[in-house]
Symmetry: C2
Subunit: 539 residues, 2 copies
């Protein structure tokens, strides 16, 4: 490592970026240490504007800033952190173009990994709920919503059509409310302007919240105001309930209600990054314990800040909330104290920020804001939101682009390009609840299925009723007949007991079957058994 000390920063969110920016300032006077930052993406996400990407009020790239643009003197590693060795002071990242380990040694460590979306233990959520956290999520939601309306425009089955036109958002905090408000405006506007067979009144946008009012972050009056504004625009609310399960076609609520939908977005709070979980540092419910100097308890070279840390609130009561305004200011203090540790000079700084205010945009020139002791709502809050966040958006070019996009948004209709850039996974999981069909007799055979848990039943229409041919449990598979035999589905398969399936696409199943003789043989044997059993049954 030579004589120069190295600071490694994990994470490129508000915490990591502001720590690096502050450290870079210290290098202006004396170039005596190196800064390395490791992040999965090569850009910084300005979270408050993410919802506007959904509606297209701003361009796809406008809510994010390339890290190289913000950090001129920091070495960037656009990789995933895979392991931190606190003893040997090294970080192992994911491989790049070749599968070789990449090791980054350090002297001082800043952990600012934030949180990750995690649907652990919620049936069907990892498979069927869309998170709303990063740029990819916003883009996915936008594309998916456009596709749903497009498909509804040519769909003749009324049940599927209503599923396509129902959008469910779980979580009534800032991000859920902004997402629901923007999505509601967007889908209704495009239905009205561009799709003859879809009326805005056919569309349902439903927001779920676990408490009796939305926006728990602000005063009750403002939360109620926001809800009224959104109700006027047709958003439906389900209060005091939460999601308990999800399938491809339904959102299942704690209240027992099952909402048929093809679009389920969840903004429920995320859990700590799994890398943080593995770090042997003092923690409080998964978050790293840091002091007011942001140093990790009991360590002399590790700092933690932002959403992955618990930092005492400077007021003495409780802890800092997991928000950008706290994260970025913690980063500045941490950077200051790191420079002090490297140069052994100056005073140690203590975190003293107690919060400025909160704002939420409701779209359509409305919003709510709580700033110091002032509370306001409507167009004034909305204007405040735009002015303040525009000033906080890093990078002059981004500011100009967003300002222009907002300006053009007054004159031009929303953009409707659906960027089909997400390839469907070749192997994925699906969750089903009793009564739901996996496929129906006559459908196209596009996948084979392996039962991971639960129970499926194979049924055939029989006179006016139906006949159950077989029940399938864990380890059994189905759907191979239509694929190996090149026909449509010969029977209907539906869920008998809450079940999880592993699905393998036709094309990939074909590639494996063609090249692994054992693999193919076992499926063919099963198919023959079923065919002869079927012939016996239908005789």
């Amino acid at each position: 490592m030579g004589g120069r000390k190295r600071v490694a920063i994990l994470g490129g969110g508000f915490g990591g970026v502001y720590a690096a920016m502050t450290l870079e300032k210290a290098l202006r006077y004396k170039d005596d240490f190196e800064i390395h930052l490791i992040n999965h993406e090569n850009y910084f996400v300005f979270q408050p504007m993410l919802a506007e990407v959904i509606s297209g009020s701003i361009g796809i790239m406008d809510a994010v800033t390339p890290l190289v643009r913000l950090l001129k003197k920091t070495k960037l590693h656009i990789r995933d952190v895979e392991e931190v060795d606190l003893k040997n002071k090294t970080i192992r990242t994911s491989p790049g173009f070749v599968p070789r380990p990449h090791i980054v040694p350090y002297d001082y460590l800043v952990v600012a990994l934030g949180k990750v979306t995690h649907f652990k233990g919620m049936a069907g959520m990892p498979e069927h709920a869309i998170p709303f956290k990063n740029l990819g999520d916003a883009l996915y939601i936008r594309n998916h919503a456009i596709r749903a309306v497009e498909e509804a425009d040519i769909e003749e089955d009324p049940k599927l059509r209503q599923e396509l036109l129902t959008f469910v958002i779980a979580g009534g905090g800032f991000s859920g409310v902004e997402c629901a408000a923007d999505l509601n405006d967007f889908v209704k506007l495009i239905a009205d302007k561009h799709y003859d067979a879809v009326a805005p009144s056919d569309i349902r946008v439903i927001l779920l919240h676990s408490q009796d009012r939305i926006l728990p972050e602000v005063e009750e009056k403002l939360g109620r105001f926001a809800q009224r504004v959104m109700e006027k625009r047709g958003v439906e609310f389900r209060m005091n309930t939460r999601l308990v399960a999800a399938t491809k076609t339904e959102a299942i609520l704690q209240s027992g209600e099952r909402i048929p939908t093809r679009t389920l977005i969840s903004t429920v709070p995320a859990s700590p990054n799994p890398i943080v979980e593995k770090l042997d540092l003092p923690k409080d419910r998964g978050h790293i314990k840091a002091g007011l100097d942001l140093q990790v308890e009991g360590s002399d070279h590790v700092w933690a800040l932002g959403d992955c840390a618990v930092v005492p609130h400077p007021s003495g009561k409780g802890f800092c909330p997991p928000t950008a305004q706290f994260g970025m200011r913690q980063a500045v203090v941490a950077a200051h104290n790191i420079v002090r540790a490297i140069r052994s000079e100056g005073e140690k700084k203590q975190f003293a920020f107690t919060g400025l205010g909160k704002m939420c945009s409701l779209g359509h020139q409305s919003g709510v804001a709580e700033i110091v002791n002032f509370r306001f709502s409507g167009i004034l809050a909305w204007l405040f939101w735009r002015v303040i966040y525009l000033s906080k958006l890093p990078g002059l070019d981004r500011k100009v682009k967003v300002a222009m996009a907002w300006f053009l948004d007054f004159f031009f209709p929303p953009d409707l390009v659906q960027l089909k850039v997400f390839g469907a996974g070749a192997i994925k999981q699906e969750h089903y609840e009793p009564g739901e069909e996996v496929f129906r007799q006559g459908d196209i055979g596009d996948q084979i299925y392996i039962v991971l848990s639960g129970k499926a039943e194979v049924v055939l229409p029989d006179g006016g009723g139906e006949k159950i041919l077989a029940a399938l449990g864990p380890g059994e598979y189905f759907g191979e007949m239509a694929i190996l035999g090149q026909t449509t589905r010969r029977a209907t398969v539906r869920c008998a007991e809450s079940m999880d399936l592993l699905c393998l696409r036709k094309q990939e199943f074909g590639a494996l079957a063609a090249n692994l003789p054992d693999f193919k043989a076992s499926f063919q044997k099963k198919m023959q058994e079923r065919l002869s059993a079927g012939q016996t049954q239908t005789k």
Copy 2:
């Protein structure tokens, strides 16, 4: 179908869109027929501006226009065409949200399916060459180039570093030249501005062309001028050669030269759409034969136009070239004649356009143009290019956005966000040429491989030299040890004879192995055999 006749248009490129727009005009006076258009994407791609998406001179969405915006009275089916039944006059499309067939009946058919990129029969090209035809391709190239420079900035292996910084473009026509010029400007600019460890002079951009000069579409003088301009900016040329094969790490030329690279873009002419191949219509080398009235020979209700058709050149000599200016004007004539057929009125129109001119932008305020009898180059040609194509770009909002993007491009550095939206395929193929390594002892085990053709050898270092442990041929697999045993690669595997591999990612292999006991057992048996053989050998 009721009494209203239905016109179905296959394809949403210049031909399909202009046919629909012209048909819509006829509906203004008499609303007596329906228009349906089927296209894979929900947007129209303005090909001439695609190269600017790579460099970020314009926004990602600026080179495309949503079809709904252009076609207000046309029913859109955003699906793939899977089959056309000419006898029963129906079209079957790919399924939407559920795997059920979607059938579109028609009375009149317009085939405007263009061409598709096809690397048939070229070893390694489908797996490793990047096409440059649609918006997804441009975005992929852009993201890939950013990632390559980012990785080079932290890569210590000089061989891999040079591969990352070498960009090869095959095809010296308009699209290859524009792509090479824009990519060259972009990667050198970002290296210069943002990546300390990468100098612009480390970067190689190489353009291959099968003739002795580029831009065969224009006069020789202009082609030579373009080449000189690009040479001055550091683009290398390989003339009178073409690609014969590609691997993950090399472009292999007809001349025998092997260029180590991680970025290989091919703009070589594409082949007809497979749907067109299957149509039982008169054809000339895969293209549908249409007359000067754009009607398909011997049919009274099928029209064909654009790149998928051969239409006699109105001058009487040869056929119309496959360009946008011809396609859109053919579409207008075809639409006129369809209306005439539906309403049994008016005169039949004949295609009479003979071409206006050709232009190619070289970036950096330079270009070449050939308009009627005038030929010019440099800044004037570049300005012409911008003015003419801006005027042709459909939609006022797009015009304004592109004009603004060009304006801001003078002041702000290029955007650098890498949108990681392309998931790596779970099961894919790779091509190797003799001597290339699949993996090296000590690498991370990330995939298992099945040999489809050719020969691999397993080698271990042995003293100063090496020892060949085994040779593997078609149907055999390798790489399972590191994955089943959770270790790094125990030996090096490299290509002995030109080979193709089927690769299955660790995660998906694991999912299948966990749930298909037969599948896992056959791999485990093989591993045991190999382990005991290895122990014998190393004794």
